[in-house]
């Protein structure tokens, strides 16, 4: 029996760095890394040189300096004596407000339009299709500017509401005024007992949660379903409503009224905020409608046929079979569109709304001359939001995956 011969061992050659699979990966990465680092250092070096020429340094101290400018729409207390950092925070909250309200309106609209788009009614389906295509194919900036122009040029000035025969009247029983300076709503005024109402409302919600749990258990044990929807609505509304009247209406409305050339009191929503939010909402709703439609259509017809042949009624087919499957398809791109809406809110500067880009990336940047630092912070903010939302999408995908072999 002869001993097995071993393959001859090769001696190391430099060309093996690239051609041998053992070393190739490493070599390529090392080369890429070196090139990347070289480019990176070149950029940094240039920046340092340029900054030196302009006598600037890199520091974030400006955040603690006095801002010196006013922001006319804000959610937290702020004056021109507050710091730049505070101004940035006001801007961030403004951005988040637009994003939040915009997303809600966009979702409601998008759901409505998307479901109607699937209607068998030809006119309705075509109308919804026109809505979707119309909004999707025109740039969002144009919509923002257009809606703003509409709100400022098309609406009456406050003084048009004056006099015995005014040119313009308020809506909803003299409570809402749409003017070219903004829209005025009644503001809620909380009196003494208002906090009891809040407590009652909170308790109603807790009660509804327990009721739903109870109803589910009943269904499991006896098979009978209870009308959970209507009972929940009643439980949420009636106790709080009854308490409201019993306590002598502790929440009242402060109506805006015309004084001089302007409206006073009430909530004042400026046109820049309205234009930005409404335009973003309508624009994004068109994309959401398509996502909803695609999601529902993606559930194969056979699913609803099988459910129907088992005797399930259409509303149960939708809630038990179609929606759970459709939602899995709809939610990730839906959240992606929320992110897009948030990013698009940075166009606020076009209508003068002070979002984070208007404050931090706008006036603060111009006044302090800290372009590099401001842009870094600004981009950092958007990156943080986007990473948060992406990780949420990933979490959703992982938890609700339909199990496949």
């Amino acid at each position: 029996m002869s001993s097995p011969t071993l393959p001859p061992s090769e001696s190391f050659k430099f060309s093996m760095l690239l051609s041998d699979t053992r070393y190739r990966g490493m070599s390529l990465q090392v080369i890429t890394f070196i090139i990347f680092m070289a480019v990176f250092f070149w950029l940094v070096d240039n920046t340092i040189k340029n900054l030196a020429l302009l006598d600037k340094d890199v520091s974030f101290n400006f955040l603690w300096l006095r801002a010196g400018y006013d922001i006319n729409q804000r959610l937290i207390p702020y004056t021109s004596d507050s710091t730049h950092g505070m101004a940035a925070l006001v801007g961030i909250l403004n951005t988040l407000l637009v994003a939040f309200v915009g997303c809600i309106i966009a979702t409601v609209l998008g759901l409505f339009v998307g479901i109607l788009r699937l209607s068998k009614n030809w006119i309705v389906a075509k109308l919804m299709s026109a809505y979707i295509e119309g909004f999707r194919n025109v740039p969002v900036l144009l919509w923002i500017v257009m809606v703003f122009a509409l709100l400022t040029e098309f609406t009456p000035a406050p003084r048009a509401f004056k006099g015995a025969e005014p040119e313009a009247t308020m809506l909803f029983f003299e409570s809402v005024a749409i003017t070219n300076r903004g829209t005025y709503f009644p503001a809620p005024v909380l009196a003494e007992g208002a906090y009891w109402l809040l407590l009652c409302f909170g308790l109603s919600i807790v009660a509804v949660i327990y009721f739903i749990r109870y109803a589910n258990k009943q269904k499991k044990d006896t098979g009978k379903s209870l009308p959970t929807f209507w009972i929940s609505v009643a439980v949420i509304i009636f106790p709080t409503l009854i308490l409201f009247f019993a306590m002598g209406q502790p929440v009242s409305l402060e109506y805006p009224y015309l004084k001089g050339f302007n409206f006073k009191d009430g909530i004042h929503l400026r046109n820049s905020f309205l234009a930005l939010t409404l335009a973003l909402a309508f624009y994004t709703s068109a994309f959401i409608a398509e996502i909803v439609r695609a999601g529902i259509m993606a559930v194969s017809k056979g699913q609803s046929e099988a459910a129907a042949s088992l005797g399930l009624r259409p509303n149960k087919i939708m809630s038990l079979i179609i929606l759970p499957q459709a939602l899995r398809i709809i939610v990730p791109p839906l959240i992606s569109n929320y992110l897009n809406l948030t990013k698009n809110s940075s166009l606020a500067i076009a209508v003068g709304y002070m979002d984070v880009r208007g404050t931090l990336g706008g006036i603060t940047l111009n006044q302090t001359g800290r372009e590099l630092e401001s842009m870094l912070l600004l981009m950092g903010f958007y990156l943080a939001v986007s990473l948060l939302i992406s990780s949420f999408i990933n979490y959703f995908n992982r938890s609700f995956q339909i199990v496949v072999r």
Binding site: T32, W122, L141, M379, L383, S386
Partner: protein, 427 residues
């Protein structure tokens, strides 16, 4: 007790017409518009809604003025109809920006050539004209910006010489692609650094061909939107492919760099990147360099679009039938060969609808340059509205601009849907 069940049909039953409520106009109406109470109500409401809108819109548009000199004149004549005169007066500006009027033939020609250059790419039948698509970028730059013909073509000449050098090395002298590539690269670098300028000067003397120079700031309107959009999408294509491949790579360093880049770009709004282009880019380049603003914007838009393109191509790569990689590897192809010959063509074919959608999005995003004071149509609208003659006009102007974008984008999306349908049936 079984009854006889044997049965044979003797006479054929011919097809007959369906009952009248099923087909034709009545059938269609019944099924589509009036199939239930809810549907009938919806139909009536929708028709009412449409009629109201048209009732107001048609007289307003139809009776519009086209030839007045200002808004005031329009309003004096008849305030209830549209004042389209703003379009008559300013349409050239909306299309070309501040481009010199006597040179309008140049952007127009560029646009026509663009359509011709796209044809070989979109319709494989005409692939033999692909050479035109390759020379088109140089031709377009020369037509739009002007200057000497040779300064542009020297780029093509240099690259072609470099490619020829590479091929000669491979064919006759060297076996190793890597070394030949490095040498060819050096040769091209030397050419551009030392030989190109004198050569251009020489050619300019022998055969001067040039067009009057037009600076970037004069470009505006839809021409600017197209320049930024088309250049962005075309240039981002190869970068996007590289990024998509890098993202999929097994090598951690490359993967991290690609993922980092893509996630960074997709996480920030385009407006911040444009702002970087207009303000910060100068910091990152050696002191003293001063780039053309349009070029800077195009660079940022390209990088932006490349990240989204990479994601689309990644989707296309994921949609490939499994086993393509293994099949090509087992045939002995190298990584780059299998990418070039097998993987990429299929992945790109699947990605085309996504690519067209990215382009539509990019084209709409070109309006953002108005915020950094470039004169795209939206920016021009503000300028026109600020003009005394047209102060206060908005519907007519915005509707016209919106309509132009709509036609372009909707057309592209219809094309993309057509492609998707064709691809589905192609299998």
């Amino acid at each position: 007790m079984m009854t006889k069940i044997a049965f044979v049909r003797k006479k054929e039953i011919p097809p007959s017409a369906p009952p009248i409520t099923e087909v034709g106009l009545i059938g269609w109406l019944r099924q589509n518009l009036f199939s239930s109470w809810l549907n009938s109500i919806l139909t009536v409401l929708s028709v009412y809604f449409i009629v109201i809108i048209l009732w107001d819109f048609i007289p307003w548009a139809y009776g519009g003025h086209w030839n007045t000199k200002s808004l005031r004149e329009c309003l004096d004549l008849d305030p209830d109809v549209a004042c389209f005169s703003v379009l008559t007066a300013r349409w050239k500006q909306l299309l070309f920006g501040l481009y010199p009027a006597e040179e309008y033939w140049r952007p127009t020609l560029t646009f026509i050539f663009l359509l011709l250059a796209i044809v070989p790419i979109l319709f494989p039948k005409f692939f033999r004209f692909f050479w035109f698509s390759i020379i088109y970028p140089g031709l377009a730059v020369w037509l739009l910006w002007g200057g000497s013909f040779w300064s542009i073509s020297i780029v093509y000449i240099g690259l072609t010489l470099g490619a020829l050098f590479f091929l000669t090395l491979i064919r006759r002298y060297l076996k190793n692609y890597m070394i030949a590539a490095i040498l060819a690269f050096l040769f091209t670098a030397v050419f551009f650094l030392f030989i190109s300028n004198p050569l251009v000067g020489l050619l300019n003397v022998i055969l001067p061909i040039s067009l009057p120079f037009v600076e970037s700031l004069k470009m505006g309107g839809f021409t600017l939107s197209l320049i930024v959009g088309v250049t962005g999408i075309v240039a981002s294509f190869p970068i996007g492919i590289l990024l998509a491949l890098g993202r999929q790579s097994n090598l951690p360093v490359i993967k991290m760099i690609c993922v980092g880049f893509i996630e960074f770009i997709r996480g920030v709004p385009l407006i911040t990147l444009l702002f970087v282009a207009s303000v910060l880019l100068n910091y990152f380049l050696p002191p003293g360099t001063n780039f053309d603003i349009v070029l800077r914007v195009v660079i940022m838009v390209t990088l932006f679009s490349a990240a989204y393109m990479a994601e689309v191509i990644r989707g296309g790569l994921a949609g490939l039938p499994l086993g393509q990689h293994e099949a090509s590897a087992s045939l002995g192809l190298t990584y780059w060969q299998s990418q070039r010959l097998i993987i990429m063509p299929q992945a790109l074919k699947i990605s085309i609808p996504g690519i067209v959608n990215t382009f539509i999005g990019l084209f709409k995003d070109t309006t953002l340059v108005s915020i950094i004071s470039l004169r795209d149509p939206v920016g021009l609208a503000s300028t026109i509205r600020a003009d005394q003659k047209w102060n206060g006009i908005y519907w007519e102007l915005y509707v016209a601009i919106g309509l132009m974008f709509f036609i372009f984008c909707w057309g592209m999306s219809q094309y993309s849907q057509y492609l998707e349908r064709k691809l589905k049936t192609d299998k």
